[in-house]
């Protein structure tokens, strides 16, 4: 099935079996292997990408359902020469060990910070209150991204630092 997805600013046309997930389209068809396949069931968050600016699990989405959508993967976030502030913060704080979850953590952080600045609720914030970027708020809002090396304290520190730089 013919599908065109705008990936990291570039229109990419594909002819896909409808079974192909967005994650497999990115990794196997477009060779963008930054997005990782961990659990392939929406439980680990390693496959997190931004679709039209919103973070989702790319493993639980069919590529053919994204015809015309704008997808941002870790490859579109920054380059070794021009790191995104969140990437710099993850390096500075050593916010990983094996690094497998890191692309998902970083894409998720981008989505999370934009949700937070839009005032989106979470269970850490009562429905009437404006959320602030506390440690507890970061942990709750990033709970869809698992780090099996358990670099969580460094990830929280990196996100707080990056948010200051990006403010």
């Amino acid at each position: 099935m013919k599908t065109t997805i705008h990936v990291n600013g570039e229109a990419r046309s594909l002819d896909l079996d409808p079974r192909t997930t967005l994650l497999d389209a990115l990794r196997e068809h477009l060779k963008l292997t930054g997005s990782k396949k961990g659990c392939d069931h929406g439980q680990c968050g390693a496959c997190t990408v931004l679709v039209n600016g919103v973070r989702i699990n790319s493993c639980l989405s069919l590529a053919v359902m994204h015809d015309g959508d704008a997808v941002t993967t870790i490859e579109g976030v920054g380059t070794p020469e021009h790191l995104h502030p969140i990437q710099t913060a993850f390096l500075t704080h050593d916010a990983y060990q094996c690094g497998y979850c890191t692309p998902g953590q970083i894409c998720s952080t981008i989505g999370m910070l934009s949700e937070l600045s839009a005032g989106a609720p979470s269970q850490e914030t009562p429905p009437g209150a404006a959320p602030v970027l506390s440690d507890a708020e970061i942990r709750e809002r990033m709970s869809g991204n698992i780090c099996r090396c358990s670099a969580y304290p460094q990830i929280v520190a990196a996100i707080k630092d990056a948010a200051k730089v990006m403010a």
Binding site: M1, G45, V54, R55, N57, L60, P121, Q123, G144
Partner: protein, 316 residues
């Protein structure tokens, strides 16, 4: 994943017509639960009808002072909606208690209502399960049933409905609007949408083949405070062991039955002057725990009593 054909519906009428006339057809919107189950070949649709781009993702006030939420609206959008947060905070709270942010960004309102149980034997295709493979037996009866139902279960199925959102909608007395293959629409109270397992746990709702949920309609909020409380094995991103939604004097319990459980005995007792603790005790007289899930009785008793007290302290 089994092979399937895919089409993007042009409008809701075309979608229900295609669903009724194509054997093995299923609707897909967010797909977060359906695709998970398709990968495990627990769901094996022959044809998917994409309804995610239909004009069903708006939230608008109704003439009677309620709110109409389009079925394709994402869970995150509903939770963040200013009208929902101001007038139906229990709904916002329930939604952000479920899944992860990534899942809530993708999952639709209609799909949330139709999500399948997380019973371990429903997921384990090597084991009997009446819900997954009718008339093969229920492995949970003698198995890992710590999270099983305490209300309305049968020997055929003791699984629970796991949606948080649906518990809040049940407490709020919401209605579900649908479009049937005939082109007629109808309105179903949340209480009627889901079924108890009986002898056919594979049939989870009263929806007909091809019938599409188009919206959820909230009546004006009842007087009084609102609150959603959920207990689970870890602080975030875990299915619940029990939950309670309170909207004034209206109370629903979650993860205790095959459907969101409107606690009508609690409501009757509260109306006749019982304390929250006395009222939930009356409801729990009708519970049938199995041993491993006995803990749900004191858990629900304390959870519901605390939530009802807190909501009514906030309310009025």
């Amino acid at each position: 994943m089994r092979a399937f054909t895919y089409e993007r519906a042009g409008d809701a009428k075309a979608a229900v017509k295609a669903a009724a006339s194509t054997p093995g057809a299923r609707f897909i919107a967010g797909g977060t639960n359906l695709l998970d189950l398709m990968k495990l070949e627990i769901e094996t649709p022959a044809h998917l009808i994409d309804v995610s781009r239909l004009n069903m993702a708006t939230i608008e006030a109704t003439l009677d002072g309620g709110l109409r939420i389009g079925a394709a609206t994402s869970n995150s959008t509903v939770a963040a909606d200013p009208q929902v947060r101001a007038r139906y905070p229990v709904l916002s709270q329930a939604i952000v208690a479920g899944g992860s942010p990534q899942l809530r960004n993708k999952a639709s309102v209609g799909g949330n209502l139709l999500q399948r149980t997380r019973c371990a034997y429903f997921y384990d295709t090597s084991k009997p399960c009446n819900k997954r493979a009718p008339r093969t037996g229920c492995s949970a009866l003698e198995g890992l049933n710590r999270n099983a139902a305490i209300f309305g279960a049968t020997d055929h199925c003791i699984a629970t409905h796991t949606s948080d959102m649906a518990v809040a909608l049940t407490a709020l007395g919401a209605n579900v609007e649908t479009l049937m293959p005939s082109g007629q629409s109808r309105t179903l109270p949340m209480l009627v949408l889901h079924r108890l397992p009986g002898e056919t746990p594979e049939i989870e709702t009263c929806l007909e083949t091809g019938e599409l949920i188009t919206a959820v309609v909230l009546p004006p909020p009842p007087p009084g405070g609102q609150i959603y409380r959920k207990v689970r094995d870890r602080a975030s991103y875990a299915g619940g062991l029990a939950s309670v939604a309170v909207a004034g004097r209206q109370v629903a319990l979650g993860m205790v039955a095959h459907k969101p459980w409107r606690a009508s005995a609690v409501e009757t007792a509260l109306a006749s002057g019982a304390s929250p603790a006395e009222a939930i005790a009356v409801e729990l007289e009708g519970a049938s725990p199995l041993g491993r899930n006995d803990f749900k009785l004191p858990l629900v008793a304390r959870l519901a009593a605390a939530a009802i007290s807190e909501a009514n302290g906030r309310g009025a």
